[in-house]
């Protein structure tokens, strides 16, 4: 059973589970450097903000569905969730490409998918009670946050690398909480963690939307 889970996590997940996010509720406001601005209250800017929030929250819900199914040994459900998760990854990359061009989109997708691979590693580690694998995956995810921060910072000078990395770390922590809760079989705790994780994504989506509007005010005017 464990072996089956590992195999199916390792194979299918690497191709499909590519969009996992991690989540954690942040009680406060967005960091000052990335605080929301009134600029995103108008039509196009608001649409951007809403669109990014939808995509990032969807990412968490689908990732949680995939990890939950995987840990529960529900292979068909896992594959479906992982497939949907990858579609979400592509949609997020498309959104990046719509702002920063085809090259950026092409570079972003494998970078984004990479953290899903690390989440798969962590989930396998949890499923097999392999602490070493879990620790390695967490370490990889933490290192990944710097890559993600560097990417967005390079694309948009209004997004400080360290701030983005920190926000993504919270995402990693909150998703890890989801997986840990799922592994214990405590459904109430798991779903509470999912809500926290999904809620945290606003802390990434809002500042990203604001920074894009600030970078391209003409494109999002009106």
């Amino acid at each position: 059973m464990k072996r089956t889970l590992v195999v199916f996590l390792g194979a299918a997940a690497m191709t499909a589970l590519l969009t996992t996010g991690c989540t954690a509720q942040m009680a406060g406001s967005p960091p000052a450097a990335m605080a929301a601005s009134p600029a995103t209250s108008n039509g196009k800017a608001a649409a951007l903000r809403a669109g990014l929030n939808t995509l990032f929250q969807e990412h968490v819900y689908l990732a949680s569905a995939a990890t939950g199914a995987a840990l529960g040994g529900r292979e068909a459900e896992f594959k479906a969730a992982a497939g949907a998760l990858d579609e979400n990854s592509v949609a997020i990359s498309n959104a990046i490409g719509s702002v920063y061009g085809a090259d950026a989109e092409k570079a972003f997708l494998p970078l984004w998918r990479r953290h899903i691979g690390f989440v798969v590693d962590y989930t396998v580690g949890v499923a097999t009670k392999d602490a070493g694998k879990q620790n390695k995956a967490v370490s990889d995810l933490v290192a990944y946050t710097n890559d993600f921060g560097a990417f967005l910072s390079a694309a948009n000078p209004n997004l400080p690398k360290a701030v983005v990395a920190d926000l993504v770390k919270h995402h990693v922590v909150t998703l890890k909480s989801v997986i840990d809760a799922q592994a214990t079989g405590d459904a109430a705790k798991a779903y509470s963690a999912v809500r926290t994780a999904a809620g945290h994504m606003r802390m990434i989506a809002d500042p990203l939307a604001d920074a894009i509007v600030k970078q391209f005010p003409d494109k999002f005017a009106g």
Binding site: Y100, D103, A104, K106, A107, F108, P110, L111, N146, D147, A150, F151, S153, A154, A155, K161
Partner: protein
């Protein structure tokens, strides 16, 4: 290595050479660079993260050259003496790939 004598070196600042390749937004730009034999090609890292210039592909490294690009502004230079096609990639981000075509 082999007949391709090359010179690898990290230099401090970021002034792209005429036959240079920018590393920006996790992309080698241009992805394909055509140069004449004997020319130095310099990669300049514009990203605030470490990349590498590693010859070959992630699936088939060829060991011809390997150099870190330690952070924003770091450079690496390789001299290509022999005509041929030289693929390369970033070891930390294997989806980043490029190619030098030496004529």
């Amino acid at each position: 290595m082999l007949a391709m004598a090359m010179w690898l070196g990290l230099v401090g600042t970021a002034v792209a050479a005429p036959d240079g390749v920018d590393v920006q937004l996790f992309t080698f730009r241009p992805a394909t660079q055509d140069v004449k034999a004997g020319v130095d090609v310099t990669w300049t890292n514009r990203d605030d993260i470490e990349h590498t210039v590693t010859s070959g592909t992630p699936e088939a490294r060829d060991g011809r050259f390997q150099s870190p690009l330690a952070g924003k502004g770091a450079t690496a230079t390789v001299r290509f003496k022999e005509p041929g096609v030289y693929p390369y990639f970033c070891e930390r981000h294997p989806s980043m790939r490029g190619e030098i075509r030496v004529h």
